[in-house]
Amino acid sequence: MNLTASNISKKYNRSKGGANWFYAVKSIDLCIEAGKLTAVYGRSGSGKTTLLNLLGGLLQPSEGKVLCGETDIYAMPDKELSAFRNQHIGIVPQGAAALGNLTVLENVLLPSLIGGRSSDEQEKRAEALLQSFGIASLRDVMPRELSGGEQRRMAIARALMNRPEILLCDEPTGDLDDENTRVVLRLLRDEAAKGTAVLLFTHEADARNYADIVMKMDGGSLEKI
């Protein structure tokens, strides 16, 4: 399934009640293709996270549409959109994004529990993901005991739990050492190879070596490199 953004913008008012608008994302047309890894570079404040939120169904665009396949995701009410996101879109948020009250295994299982699926099969899937991400031995550990690299791997494993067709990653290699960066990028590359549409927002220069399409974001606009 492709993820298509059609002329999307997001504008904010700088002063409450006034009319001092600025655009965090400006009229972007974008297609994240299935089976490809698209890398988007951009410095802080360029609008990358806003674009990810728009594409992930977390932030209503001021203008334009976001289509997952043929589905206009913002035409759905929140409950339906949330369920859709749970089923079809995996998101790896920026920074530490583990639920501290749950073990690593429970964190990875969480998307399937949110989707109302709880079975031994799901548990086996979560364990297999932990295995393939090299953190199987940490399944019963609490997230605060994990290193930064382990936390990122756990977050990617969790995003893949429901076998999403679209994977959106916001700086998944930020603050990681070179070795962990390579591990994470390879995992994303492998996921794209399985047919998932992967979008990677990054500062990491090395990422272009793993990407099929490379783009640059600046001042809310996107251009292909």
Binding site: T49, T50, L52, N53, G56, L58, L59, D78, K79, L81, S82, A83, F84, R85, N86, Q87, I91, P93, Q94, G95, A97, A98, L99, G100, N101, L102, L105, E106, L109, L110, P111, L113, I114, G115, G116, S118, E123, R158, D170
Partner: protein
């Protein structure tokens, strides 16, 4: 292993025991003040009703010397140990000369020294089985046979010897029944018939040879209780007694009850004001504490949004967590109230100096349930704003560490 996303609020409570305990303590305090206050007000009201029902007389006549309120009120209404006497001829005079009297009976009061049974002084009340209409109907609920000489019926707080006897002034009395609780000091009283009372007064005189004036049981009574005939105005009968019979004071019992009711209304009002103050303060503290705790957890809720939890369900998690915390805290508060009430029932009764009778267990249970619901509703109210705000968070911005 968590098997459902609905387990998240429980997990959150269990994994942060201090945070949860702090909220539970506030909820327990809310329930304690509401349930405790309600029990106090109901117990005072019950005590008054029991008092009113037990007295059964329209008019009480006491010696004029006892008419300083503290004396007769405390003895007749509250059952506090005390004694006063008037010439028995006044009883005959009222009976024979005052119109409108349906029933009339005399009572004798004797405040014993420390008896074998009791740690405090024991109030002995003597009644005439032939004419009594005040004590016997009440005693009949526990003991329907007429009392013989040296028989006694005791209040609920009096514990007789193992062989159901009590030693008073060297005389052995047989306890035939223990009465229902009244919530007054009458629970520490003992009831005997006139014949036994006369024997006890003689024994008392023998034990106290140095008292100023020996009591002659054949010539005195302590009070006269009157039931007015239908069609007669009680106030007129009171007025006639006070006008035509010297050395006595007739009082309408309703007025005596009103005096107690006035004090009760004051105490109840004070309890209600305190309860309201505690509630307002606790609800504000709970709202602030809950809002702060939820703000600290914005990142956690943002992650849930990212993973596909709807705004409505996020709000549901917040409300559920609060409901569970207030449920546990509320139940603890109610249990603490029940334990304290049962343990210090007597002390409360003594310290407020008003009739105090706990409601029936079924009423207490119903009150506890209502308290729990009200506590949980207050909790829901304090978390509603947090739930709304948390459900509206911009997950992307929160996870990036920026302010909305």
């Amino acid at each position: 292993m968590m098997r459902s996303v609905y387990g998240l609020p429980v997990r959150s409570i269990l994994k942060k025991p201090l945070r949860s305990a702090a909220l539970m303590i506030i909820a327990a305090f809310l329930a304690f003040s509401a349930f405790g206050g309600s029990l106090m007000v109901m117990s005072l009201s019950n005590g008054l009703e029991s008092l009113s029902a037990r007295l059964g007389a329209d008019i009480v006549v006491v010696p004029y010397s006892a008419a300083s309120k503290v004396s007769y009120d405390s003895v007749i209404i509250q059952g506090k140990p005390g004694q006063f006497y008037m010439d028995a001829k006044y009883y005959e005079e009222i009976k024979n000369e005052i119109e409108g009297i349906d029933k009339i009976t005399a009572q004798f009061y004797l405040a014993s020294a420390k008896a074998s049974c009791c740690s405090a002084r024991l109030q002995i009340i003597g009644f005439d089985p032939e004419t009594d209409f005040s004590v016997q109907p009440w005693i009949a609920k526990s003991y329907s046979t007429e009392l013989s000489e040296y028989d006694a019926v005791v209040g609920s707080d009096v514990t007789p010897n193992a062989d159901m006897t009590i030693e008073i002034y060297g005389k052995t009395l047989h306890v035939r029944a223990v009465l229902e609780k009244t919530g007054t000091e009458l629970d520490s009283a003992m009831y005997v018939n006139t014949a036994t009372m006369k024997e006890l007064i003689l024994a008392h005189n023998a034990k106290n040879p140095n008292q100023e004036r020996a009591i002659d049981p054949e010539k005195v009574v302590s009070s006269v209780l009157i039931k007015v005939m239908d069609g007669y105005d009680i106030d007129s009968v009171v007025g006639n007694i006070n006008l035509y019979v010297r050395q006595v004071k007739a009082i309408r019992t309703q007025n005596m009850i009103f005096d107690v009711a006035d004090s009760l209304s004051g105490v109840s009002g004070m309890i209600s004001v305190l309860m309201a103050a505690v509630w307002v303060l606790s609800v504000i503290i709970m709202a602030i504490a809950f809002t702060m705790m939820m703000n600290e957890r914005r990142r956690e809720f943002a992650v849930l949004r990212v993973l596909g939890v709807s705004r409505a369900r996020i709000a549901g998690f917040v409300l559920t967590e609060n409901a569970l915390v207030t449920l546990v805290g509320g139940v603890c508060g109610i249990i603490i109230t029940v334990l304290l009430t049962l343990l210090f029932n007597g002390l409360i009764e003594q310290s407020i100096g008003l009739p105090f009778l706990l409601p029936q267990p079924s009423v207490m249970l119903l009150t506890a349930l209502i308290t729990l619901l009200v506590t949980m509703a207050a909790g829901a109210l304090t978390s509603a704003v947090s739930a709304y705000k948390i459900s509206k968070i911009d997950a992307g911005l929160v996870l990036r560490g920026e302010n909305e």
